[in-house]
Symmetry: C2
Subunit: 458 residues, 2 copies
């Protein structure tokens, strides 16, 4: 047992600091293939004062602190590889205030997005970011999460108006205000969003929310080729049709869904679409979108307005990761995540599919194609070194390809441990600027050490 | 003559480094009331290598460098109060590449927004940010400009995908990539946008552009009271109607336009609206908006689709600053700029109007009301100390009020010299974080010294 548990208990409370083995194990991993590592202790703060006192103590003692939401990250972002304290924010899970006339909500970091949306619904509002997993909003801000709706409403960074952040030395700052926009001072909101716990711990968030659209229409369209599907996306976006979601699943991945879920979806590159707006506008948007997808060779297109029918229509997309995970017991998910310029996307996806088909592993491809962002999902038997090595090689090649096209090594999963080795290559000497900011804000390196940035010894 | 002119000429070219008095004077001021100050020398670089060589030299010699676009700033942002080099970017004015299928454009910092839009039009694209002035894109990024379209398309920071930046020591970095979104590394794009030349000099920008909407409808609606006008804005936004612009001009300001321009617009609080979309959707949006504004007491509403009629409809808004400036020869503009949470806006505007009416100066109020952002425009006789003192007092009171409501001291004009004294109050100890980032990136303080941050001696 580490010798500072007693001090932590005096700073928080006897029953909110634990070395219980089961709880340590729950905080040793995320939803990815990355190797688990136990924290030395798990602490459950209830307010910012406790977080501040704990960080002040940890900073003095040089103890690593790793903020933890629900562990839904995919790049080892919250795994405590240097041990220390896993700071579990789940008790700070209150929706503090809905300022409906300001289109703002103030939440604690442990609130999940579905919990928030349940609260917002009674005000006719919704929170737009949907990364799939029911992650905490603190975790989503830390990773700069996004997902299927980013093409219309933006990413997590676009929703954050203010963060209450406890810095490494225990100081508490606010990075923004209640104003919709500001040109006052340096943009700390944007800097702290996506910092993955390496610059500070979030204890409160003010987020932008939206009026629930009058009507939602969902669609599914299949194409002979990936190129045609992606060209259709470009056509829709060039036409200025305000698409709310536009997702691509490639043919081989539809086959995987059919196999795993005993379905018979058409095994072709398929676009899943969603439109938000008023009835008249949507009717025209949908007609226009139909014309465009047909111009690009679409052979089969269906639209639905009713919410149950919409969900059925989207099932093959919604259930893709689920189908893979729940049909692969004992295997672990490696989901790589890159983003390329829009017109590079079809080439990138084809190149990726070719590489997977030539390899010894199976991989599904799904893309937030309106953002040029796509994922490859591998289910890995971690005891099979050949399978793991193959997937690692493919991951590296997919990232290499994205970077060679002016893209990024991660569109939304964050760097964590998995994408650190690409930081210097992607950012060049801007990486040194990032390191210098990290050093000035966390000089002892206690905050989520080894994430985003390589340790000096690595 | 400062002793380093010869060195600068050897780094750039004989004819692109000047101490010509007229040119020094052109670089001594912006469009505001702030006191001019001559630079020691003006340099006109043609490429990043020259900017890098110049900064490296200036950093070694500890010579201040102030980047200069077109001098359209409103808070003294580009006035060289410590002398040194005014770095005029106007020769770097090429649209380098239109990547129409990526909805991206690569430009040099001296390109103006109307120049860019002229180029984009032939691709069916447009650049969304419209701050009124035909500013350079480098300057707009440096100030995080926005304007009337921010409510729909976002502010300058939302459009920037990558900046090529020369740091104080002459190093060149890229802050982003061509990817639409990224969670890779710390968000340097956001940090450098709005840094007002205090962290680096931009030599290239990659910006997001949009498809020109199928149809544009403009509207004008007058109300008995400011509260009703602002409540109508809230109603429109709550209904999820995707408004592209929504501007308020208060009654007294319409009177000023009528007086100065010999017009007879109805002298009531007036909303100016614009909708972008498809014909069917706009028809429904406009009908819905009409219902809402009538619910809030609107007495007079007009809509136009044709571009000439649209411009006429908006004239009283477009010409407000123009009417003031061109009817006040010898006077200088003080335009203060605050942003408050949306539902605080009507109260804030009424409070401001009351303060102005009780004072000895005249002020016009115009607001980007969808963002909670409004401006007060004073025309000042700078030789009249009472008038200046009155306007300064009102400016301070307007900012105080905005900050007391959780707002910001500047929504879009930036801090420059005019809003520095509010930085500590608005940001609390987050201001120290900003200062530490400034110090680590510009340890000798050569980059636009005295802007955003108070000098240590102040």
């Amino acid at each position: 047992m580490v010798d500072y548990v007693k001090e932590l208990k005096s700073l928080l409370a006897e029953d909110r600091v634990t070395i219980n083995q089961t709880i340590l194990e729950q905080h040793s991993r995320d939803e990815s293939y990355h190797t688990p590592r136990l924290p030395d202790v798990v602490a459950f703060p209830e307010n910012k004062e406790e977080v501040s006192a704990l960080l002040k103590f940890a900073n003095e003692q040089e103890i690593p602190v790793v903020p933890f939401g629900l562990g839904t990250s995919l790049e080892g972002n919250a795994i405590p590889y240097s041990g220390g304290i896993s700071l579990d924010m789940s008790l700070m899970n209150k929706v503090i205030e809905v300022r409906e006339k300001d289109f703002l909500v103030k939440v604690q970091p442990g609130v999940t997005r579905t919990q928030l949306n349940k609260t917002l619904k009674q005000y006719g509002l919704f929170f737009s970011v949907d990364p799939g997993a029911d992650a905490t909003l603190g975790g989503m801000a830390a990773t700069n999460a996004s997902g299927t709706t980013a093409v219309r409403y933006g990413i997590m960074r676009d929703q954050v108006r203010d963060l209450e952040v406890v810095l490494a030395n225990g100081e508490i700052i606010h990075t923004g205000s209640l104003a919709t926009k500001s040109s006052s001072g340096l943009h700390l909101n944007g800097l702290f969003v996506g910092s993955e716990g390496t610059l500070g711990v979030f204890t409160e968030l003010i987020l932008k929310v939206y009026g629930i659209p009058e009507e939602i229409v969902a669609g599914r369209a299949s194409f002979p080729t990936v190129q045609q599907a992606v060209s259709a996306v470009n056509g829709i976006m060039s036409a200025g049709i305000p698409i709310a979601r536009i997702e691509l699943v490639d043919a081989r991945s539809i086959t995987q869904v059919n196999t795993y879920m005993n379905k018979s979806y058409e095994e072709k590159p398929t676009l899943f679409l969603e439109f938000h707006g008023n009835a008249a506008g949507l009717a025209q948007d949908v007609e226009f979108a139909k014309d465009i997808v047909r111009d690009f060779g679409c052979e089969n297109i269906t639209f639905e307005t009713d919410s149950i029918a919409r969900n059925e229509l989207w099932e093959a997309r919604h259930k893709l990761a689920y189908a893979l995970i729940h049909s692969s017991p004992g295997k672990k998910l490696m989901s790589t995540d890159v983003s390329v310029p829009l017109h590079e996307l079809s080439e990138a996806i084809l190149n990726t599919r070719e590489k997977i088909d030539l390899s010894k592993v199976e991989g599904a491809i799904a893309g937030h194609v309106g953002d040029g962002n796509y994922h490859v999902l591998f289910m890995l038997d971690l005891t099979d070194p050949i399978e793991v090595a193959e997937a690692m090689r493919l991951n590296a090649e997919i990232v290499d390809y994205a970077l060679s096209r002016g893209g990024t090594c991660t569109g939304e999963h964050g760097v964590g441990i998995g994408k650190r080795i690409y930081q210097r290559r992607e950012h060049g000497n801007a990486y040194d600027v990032m390191v210098s900011i990290k050093q000035v804000l966390d000089p002892k390196g206690i905050l989520n050490p080894g994430k985003i940035f390589l340790d000096e010894t690595e």
